[in-house]
Symmetry: C2
Subunit: 191 residues, 2 copies
DNA sequence: TTGTTAGTGTGTCATCTGACACATTTTTTT
DNA sequence: AAAAAAATGTGTCAGATGACACACTAACAA
């Protein structure tokens, strides 16, 4: 629960009463490695805060090959916002890559929060902005960089991901083949 | 003004009174090709709606080379949200690639809107979500595709950009060199 | 006109990458 | 333990790309 509290505090200072109110909206949840938080073709009805663990978001291309869209490392929020807020079927799945500790905010609780008063509405708006900007910056940072740099960024910034995710999934995440990632990894370790 | 009204209507149905109220917050503005809407190192104090025209967002890498971050085609909203909402200096510049028709929403008006009542707060939240999700989807769509596909997507989806933006800026946008883009373009036209 | 500059076209070459084939290792199942 | 399946390691090769050099063209200024 520490990571979640820290996250909320970093968004805005909250009285302990406000913090308790906010936490009362969320439900604690532990899931084992391999569990799906949401799945392709279904509507996403929850927002998750990833307190501890790693999540894998992916879909499939024309050839039926699995394509990694993102790898999330705790602490951070996670949902398919497009599916969640527009009530559309999701185009991706999200699966735990490790045992995970999560906090779940249901759509019902989300709506009651957003519609309760303007302060909470603006608080949620801030979190949404922060989370989307984070993901956008991460995505743009990888784009237009050679694969080797993308890999080294991962090594430096998110070593936990390297330790817990298979080579082929990381390769897909970095936009390359498993063979190429293997060669890059070998060349880096040799040096 | 049509594009702006259509955009607002697509977000949520608005009474003509509400629409007028909203429009009264925005200031019409025409700028000539080459005009900067905001610049690297400054704080971004406005949100723009691009009614007509094309915008170029860019910064510079370690070697001092200009790097295109995005090319915006009307109609759409445009700002550096990170700078705007966190009052941080922007890390990029935004310049008109054509003469542009814009509507400007100042930070003052934005704040008064967001804090006026919960309905407007949630309306603005929706627009923020829609705009960020759009940009995220655009970015992810380009990522991990061969350059040729990125170019063809541009040809099919945003031909106006090809007609109004120089080859080297498009090359930078697509994450390649001007020479490579030139060869791709030649091979496409030959076919 | 002339000169200057920015933008674009093109050839060459080293390097990176993807695709394929197959060996080896690790994990899972029986 | 044995068999099967999944994941990873490796060689080869064709094709894509970046870097560099230089020619050509267009736009603009003197």
């Amino acid at each position: 629960m520490e990571a979640l509290k820290n996250f909320f505090s970093s968004v805005e200072h909250l009285s302990s009463k406000d913090m308790d109110f906010l936490l009362s909206k969320l439900e604690s949840k532990k899931v084992a490695k391999g569990t799906a938080l949401f799945e392709l073709g279904e509507m996403v009805k929850d927002i998750y805060f990833l307190e501890d663990g790693i999540l894998h978001r992916f879909n499939y291309n024309d050839l039926g090959e699995q394509k990694t869209l993102s790898l999330h490392e705790s602490p951070r929020f996670c949902t398919d916002l497009e599916s969640f807020s527009k009530a559309k079927k999701s185009t991706e799945s999200c699966v735990a890559m490790t045992d995970c500790t999560l906090y779940r905010l249901s759509k019902t609780e989300y709506n009651s929060l957003v519609n309760s008063n303007i302060r909470w509405s603006n608080f949620v708006k801030k979190i949404t902005e922060i989370s989307l900007i984070l993901e956008l910056n991460e995505t743009k940072n990888r784009a237009n960089k050679p694969i080797k740099e993308r890999y080294l960024d991962l090594v430096n910034r998110q070593p936990r991901i390297l330790q817990n995710v298979s080579l082929q999934i990381i390769a897909s995440y970095l936009g390359t083949s498993r063979e190429t990632l293997h060669r890059i990894r070998r060349s880096v370790h040799a040096a």
